[in-house]
């Protein structure tokens, strides 16, 4: 029985890759090494965010603060760096900002029972507002080389961004598959009552997940600005939809309880490639959004139907 599930996952992946390669072959310049490495580099932002988002979706939440944090964290770090502060200190400050936002999300969701979508929407809006205030609505740039290297440099020929994506993938993977906390996170998404009965603190799990998600987001933001050598106050808006899309395409179930970081990573790569190939075809980003929107709604609908059918099948006599 296990092997059948495994087979389905592998088949799905193979199909996806095959379809993807076929489509890609129509697009000029897609299958070049440099472009592919570029795809991974561009996907890394989405991928890192998606790792955090996966955990949030598993516990039946959502994180809409990505758009704001992706700009706010690097804005804080950037301003500090431009004022001559030590790069590590500046980066740490940016990450700290992210952690506090995540903590706040967790607080609202767990203690005040505020729905996740509104909490994170508000935090996202506030962070974006703050990044606009911090420099009067203007972007900043011209960062120290060591920072820019993080975004654009390579190590043994592979961009550092890719390594970062890999590291976050591993972190998320290890948490979910190898720690007790990971089991609890999945259980919370699966059957909260059982978890409570076992005496496990739901609040702690929620805090962790939201703080972790914001941690991922702030690192992704720092990486993004390193890649661009700029912090644009509204640079995060494009990535909000894509991180959700990455998880959804990767098969993370919006209803909670199902999902893995590897799936989200695959989803991120697919989105990244989709964007890349559409760019190469000259399709305007705004038009691309239309596709992404349709894809998200369709996939959520389909997974919902499948789940409903499965539930009917395994239902008892009555």
């Amino acid at each position: 029985m296990k092997s059948r599930v495994y087979l389905k996952k592998i088949l799905g992946l193979i199909f996806l890759v095959a379809a993807f390669l076929i489509v890609a072959s129509f697009v000029p310049n897609f299958l070049t090494i440099s472009n592919l490495l570029n795809v991974v580099r561009q996907s890394s932002i989405i991928g890192i965010c998606a790792v955090g988002m996966t955990l949030v979706i598993i516990i039946k939440g959502i994180d809409l603060s990505i758009s704001g944090l992706l700009a706010f964290s690097p804005m804080v770090s950037g301003i500090l760096m431009l004022h001559g502060h030590n790069i590590f200190f500046s980066l740490a400050a940016g990450i700290l900002v992210g952690l506090s936002m995540g903590f706040f999300n967790g607080l609202m969701v767990s203690t005040l029972s505020v729905p996740a979508f509104i909490t994170t929407l508000v935090v996202g809006q506030v962070s974006e507002g703050l990044s606009l205030i911090m420099n009067g609505g203007r972007s900043i740039g011209g960062f120290p080389d060591s920072y820019v290297f993080l975004g654009n440099g390579t190590l043994f020929g592979i961009p550092i961004s890719d390594y970062l994506m890999l590291i976050f993938f591993l972190i998320g993977f290890i948490i979910l598959k190898f720690t007790s906390l990971g089991n609890h996170i999945l259980a919370l998404g699966g059957n909260e009552t059982v978890l409570r009965q076992e005496g496990i603190s739901v609040t702690k799990i929620q805090f962790f997940v939201y703080v972790f998600a914001s941690f991922c987001t702030s690192v992704a933001g720092l990486l993004l600005s390193a890649q661009l050598d700029t912090v644009h106050p509204i640079q995060g808006e494009a990535y909000q939809l894509d991180s959700i899309a990455a998880c959804v395409i990767g098969g993370v179930d919006m209803a909670g309880g199902y999902g893995s970081v590897s799936m989200a990573m695959v989803g991120a790569l697919i989105i990244g490639s989709l964007r890349n190939s559409l760019n190469l075809l000259g399709v305007h980003p705004f038009m691309q959004n239309i596709f992404v929107g349709i894809i998200i709604i369709s996939i959520v609908f389909i997974t919902g139907r499948i789940r409903q059918r499965n539930r009917k099948a395994t239902r008892g006599v009555l």
Binding site: L241, H284, I296
Partner: protein, 317 residues
């Protein structure tokens, strides 16, 4: 003494948003120079009118326990549509208005259909449709803005009556219509029942599919109307009109107005005062010369305070 306290508490619960509005107005009159002036009040009313129209739509959606994150983008689409049809294609004005309404109804129906029949959660649906609509608006506009719109079109919203533009009166009419529908109509009662307890409402004979789809059609329609009136106001049609910020402002106003995110609780008059309250704050920020971007952050704090307040109030119930 206890009786006095409990009647104060009762009044506060029923008229919370009015009190907030009153308190803000008083504080502003005292603390902010140039606030307490007739022409400043006129500005506030003019600023409130169009968002109020959209906010009424959002209130309906929130009362079902849902959310519409695409409203801001329908505003943009409606803007460019009405501008193009009025100026470039030179349609007769009534046709332009009708077409804009149809746009809002169409998008709203789509949202409603996906949410009710395809059972995709509201925030995902409207998040996705928002992006889709934004993309479509960009395509339709081909990146350009349409300005210097025909006089006849502009007259819809700019005709001066009693010192205020006609868009204010249009908003008042919308306010009145929906006040009647929600407070006195069968639809309003069914909507509230559905928002409180969808299952019990269904068993009691409330046609929940019809209601759930209707509220999204209403929010789409009202967003389109708001978009058209915005376009008239600034004499420019652009796909970027409204957007995520506008959406957020509308949600904030609705919640300050006492609408509950969980459904069932909400009122048109509450929304009115919610919008006025938000606009007073915006007005003060302008008068004090504070950056508009700060206002965005402040909005977030406002909505959080409102939600926490709501939570505390409910727990104390």
């Amino acid at each position: 003494m206890n009786a006095l306290l409990s009647s104060i508490r009762y009044f506060a619960k029923k008229n919370g948003s009015f009190l907030i509005f009153l308190i803000l107005a008083i504080i502003a009159s005292i603390a902010v120079p140039n606030f307490f002036a007739l022409d400043n009040f006129a500005i506030i009313i003019k600023q409130s009118a169009i968002p109020l129209i959209a906010c009424i739509g959002m209130t309906l959606v929130l009362m079902t326990g849902g959310i519409d994150l695409s409203m801001g983008y329908i505003v943009g689409f409606a803007s460019i549509t009405s501008g193009l049809l009025a100026k470039i294609y030179q349609w007769p004005i009534p046709a332009v208005v009708l077409a804009t309404f149809i746009v809002g109804i169409a998008f709203g129906s789509l949202n409603g259909f996906i949410i009710q029949f395809m059972k995709v959660p509201a925030f995902i649906t409207t998040l996705g449709s928002g992006y889709i609509i934004y993309g479509l608006a960009q395509i339709v506009s081909q990146g350009s803005i349409v300005s210097r719109l025909p006089e006849g079109f502009l007259a819809i919203g700019r005709t001066e009556m009693l010192g205020l533009p006609s868009s204010v009166f249009i908003a008042a009419v919308v306010l009145l219509i929906f006040y009647i529908i929600i407070n006195k109509g069968i639809f309003g009662r069914s909507l509230r029942a559905f928002g409180y307890n969808a299952k019990a409402a269904e068993v009691s004979g409330v046609p929940i599919s019809k209601i759930n789809v209707s509220v999204y059609i209403a929010s789409g329609l009202l967003a389109a109307l708001a978009g058209m009136l915005f376009t008239i106001r600034v004499n420019a049609a652009q796909p970027n009109m409204g957007g995520g910020n506008f959406n957020f402002e509308v949600i904030t106003a609705a919640i300050v107005g006492g609408t509950s995110l969980f459904g069932g609780v909400g009122s048109i008059t509450g929304t009115l005062f919610g919008v006025l309250s938000i606009k007073i704050i915006e007005n003060c920020i302008n008068l004090m010369g504070i950056s508009y971007h700060l206002y965005m952050a402040v909005q977030g704090v406002i909505i959080l305070i409102a939600i926490i307040f709501e939570n505390v109030k409910n727990k104390a119930l």
